[in-house]
């Protein structure tokens, strides 16, 4: 069992390595101008250099922190709001139109407004990230709640469970696969928005690093940043997958 899991993981990494090799080939044969697409070798060199001589580590940490808090806030608000809307048709009627209006507002276009209202602070950046990462979680939660087997709600009623208990013991677990999928997406959005915020609002972090590299046409540095983002994304995804596997044991045992 263990061994086959490890084998699968290795195979998965092998596929990724294969793609990196393809990238190297593209770069070697200059299929795309090396100004915009340096090979992985040069990108790796820039990455190592960034860590050893530059402050890439500090920037990475800043981005991770920003992403994490923004995501956490978004998840908490998203689940709470989603639960409220998902269980109360009245609340849904009240809130849905406003939410549907806010949802398509581009978080990036909100930044100037956010700066005007909240100032150029970390709070502003977190607000923007949370705003963007909220939607996947919120939408998934609302859906998850509406998809609960109606018979289970009846069980809750028959047992005389309180509203909080119904949410906590029936709806949330039942919706948890949806919510987790939403949180997965939310995490990606949070990472993307952290980077965008750092780019637009000039906060220190990977986004800033990428932007400066792009602006001064230092392609290897740019790709070093992108590689870091990829690694970061993978690691967080794995962490979430572990959490998911724990929470959803019951689903994997289905026959």
């Amino acid at each position: 069992m263990r061994l086959s899991r490890l084998g699968r993981l290795l195979a998965s990494f092998a596929v990724a390595a294969l793609l990196v090799w393809g990238w190297q080939l593209i770069a070697d044969y200059k299929l795309v101008s090396p100004v915009f697409l340096p090979g992985p070798d040069r990108a790796w060199g820039a990455l190592v250099k960034g860590f050893s001589t530059g402050d890439l580590g500090v920037k990475l940490l800043a981005t991770v922190e920003r992403m994490f808090w923004g995501w956490l806030i978004a998840s908490l608000i998203g689940i709470a709001l989603g639960a409220a809307i998902g269980t109360s048709p009245r609340l849904r009627a009240y809130l849905a139109p406003m939410l549907e209006f806010l949802r398509p507002l581009p978080a990036s276009a909100m930044i100037p407004v956010a700066i005007a209202v909240l100032g150029l602070s970390n709070g502003m950046v977190l607000a923007v990230i949370a705003f963007g990462a909220l939607w996947p979680v919120l939408l998934a939660t609302i859906h998850g709640f509406s998809a609960v087997e109606p018979r289970l709600y009846e069980v809750g009623r028959a047992l005389g469970l309180s509203r909080a208990s119904v949410i906590w013991k029936i709806a949330l677990p039942s919706a948890s696969p949806d919510i987790l999928a939403g949180m997965r997406l939310g995490l990606t959005v949070a990472l993307i928005l952290s980077v965008v915020c750092e780019m637009i609002a000039g906060r220190d972090g990977l986004g800033n690093w990428i932007l400066l590299a792009a602006r001064s046409f230092r392609a290897p540095d740019l790709y070093a940043g992108v590689i870091l983002l990829g690694m970061l994304g993978y690691i967080t995804a794995v962490a979430l997958a572990v959490l998911e596997a724990r929470l959803l044991v019951w689903r994997n045992r289905a026959r």
Partner: protein, 232 residues
């Protein structure tokens, strides 16, 4: 909202915003920009949504493939489209194609992820029914998998639709000289916060209408299958 004597360049009084809105509405620039944004967002959404759906179903059905691609996908997914903007611009130049490519890239992931997880949530007994009836793969997807996963897939599509709009506008602000985002950019640089906010509000309205349309379509097209949520 108006702070008198303020020279804020990102806020404006609601009355000014309304005035600005009618100004750009009647000189046609708003509608033209809306068309441009909708064309690129729509095409990108359709392309990304379709690829995402296909990949999601593929990975949902073929577990080994899913595991094989896991590292690659999880590593590519978090790359912000803004970061690949320079490359996209180099490859496609300004215009629809670049924007469509980036929008498609951004829409692909949510649809893929949620489709895949929707497939994991299908009642296993239904999949057994399809096996017992020896439905062809295509029929299995068409008659069991899609309808059963449809409510969740629709959520993914609605999410992707708003992402498409957001990304399209962002790309327009950051690089592409067309559409609503470009309108925001121009207004911002021309020091017309009222126009800029009018665009912003309009984008919200467009998104709202888009979503309402999508919900309606969901009900019309799929009727029952869209509403039956009990298949979890």
């Amino acid at each position: 909202m108006r702070i008198y004597g303020s020279t804020s360049m990102s806020l404006a009084a609601p009355s000014d915003i309304v005035a600005a809105f009618f100004a750009i509405m009647f000189d046609g620039s708003l509608l033209l920009a809306t068309r441009d944004t909708l064309v690129s967002a729509g095409t990108g959404f359709a392309a990304g949504g379709f690829i995402g759906l296909a990949l999601g179903i593929l990975f949902g059905l073929v577990k080994p493939l899913d595991r094989l691609m896991e590292v690659t996908i999880e590593a590519i997914r978090p790359i912000p489209s803004v970061a690949i903007l320079p490359i996209a611009m180099l490859v496609f130049g300004f215009g629809y194609r670049m924007e469509i490519a980036i929008v498609a890239f951004s829409c692909l992931w949510p649809v893929m992820i949620m489709t895949r997880s929707a497939m994991a949530g299908i009642e296993p007994r239904l999949l057994e029914v399809s096996r017992a009836l020896r439905l062809s793969t295509w029929d299995r997807v068409r008659k069991i998998v899609l309808p059963a996963a449809l409510p969740r897939i629709m959520v993914a599509f609605r999410l992707a639709a708003s992402i498409a709009l957001v990304v399209a506008v962002t790309v327009e602000i950051a690089a592409n000289p067309l559409g609503l985002g470009y309108g925001i950019l121009v207004a911002q640089q021309a020091l017309q916060p009222a126009v800029m906010l009018a665009y912003l509000v309009w984008i919200g309205m467009v998104g709202y209408l888009l979503n309402a349309g999508l919900s309606l379509m969901q009900q019309r097209l799929f009727g029952r299958a869209g509403r039956v949520e009990a298949a979890s």
